[in-house]
Symmetry: C3
Subunit: 155 residues, 3 copies
């Protein structure tokens, strides 16, 4: 059965939960669609700076938000990134797959990753700034997917 | 098919996501029920001060929490309201419907908006302090709605 | 019909919402499975210190995170625990069942409470540190439960 996950949050811990559920479901034979919106889009940003045209406020948002999966903070006890670093060290010690590998694995398993175009406009994030292999769509596409799914999560 | 959304969060970005999904679903012919609880209730507060009896702590909560859709902060980078202001400016530039209009549109489309009575007691929010057109109910009503729905989100 | 709730958050307000929904559903005759992961695990910690072996970072996380349902903070306006205390006072005044009683009631109603073993490894939380009556499992167990349920929430 199909599963959908809205990835609204851009916190490392929540995004990892989303990908662990998505990859688990795909491994069990489910079709999975992940819909990235608002802060969740930061997960999909390329690490390098890409030259694109933005308004002043969009540029400011873009500059303040983390650029990609490796830069996300955690939702609690982040302490300016220290908490995220500590958590990543513990995860490595415990052989937990790191987020960039989880994203790669999602792609390999054919999980659909959709970036919300309306959020991209608000955040001032352009297609060129995002990683490869994404689709671009809006809420109607999400709803059509959710209608066919038996598990729909908002993370 | 019916959809339900629990609006637990009172952050502008999350509440907007809730209303964009709700309005989108209603536009596609779905019945939608939104259930406002805890901080989500702040979305429904009237902007003006309403004279009602409260305990000291309830009055304190009421005074500290944002009064209505126009006063909500964003969940990240709010900086005492500056972030929310910036985001609203960008949204206007991008022709994104502002939250008060989304709420109006939800009402026009017949979306049921239910305020959680138990949360109202805890937050010390009285019916007179909330906007018109709401229903008042508890968890049993939510569960009955969710049982008839095919998409149930907690935001 | 079955319901599942992922309790990812460890905030008092969100965890209470999870248990109020879970207990409500169980009272209406539903089977309910709660899956505790990441910060949500703190809800299930025993209040007393339990001697177990941890790495330095795991011990640090364990020391910084709240130990049990009585120690959780609230997600907004916590002010180092003061907000949680105030909210608990108001809840008592309003005859809202406190969290420890909600957990007890969940157990009595036969709600399955599953602690996510991967999160336990990351957080460095051992079985001996958690309250009685739990099951221990991973994402595959969650997905199997969710497939049989008609309402699946991520809190």
């Amino acid at each position: 059965m199909k599963k959908t996950i809205i990835v609204f949050s851009g916190d490392l811990d929540r995004v990892m939960a989303a990908f662990i559920i998505a990859n688990g479901a795909a491994a069990m034979g489910d079709e999975v669609t992940m819909f990235f919106t608002f802060w969740g889009l930061n997960t999909l940003r390329r690490p390098e700076k890409v030259k694109v045209k933005k308004s002043f406020l969009q540029a400011l948002f873009g500059w303040m938000m983390p650029r990609g999966a490796n830069k996300l903070g955690i939702s609690k006890m982040n302490f300016g990134g220290l908490g995220a670093k500590m958590m990543k060290i513990v995860m490595r010690q415990q052989n937990v797959t790191p987020l960039p590998k989880l994203i790669e694995s999602a792609r390999e398993q054919g999980i659909r990753m959709i970036a919300c175009t309306m959020s991209m406009d608000v955040m001032g994030i352009r297609k060129e700034e995002l990683i490869d292999g994404l689709e671009f769509a809006g809420v109607a596409t999400y709803l059509a997917e959710a209608d066919e799914a038996n598990v729909n999560l908002f993370i």
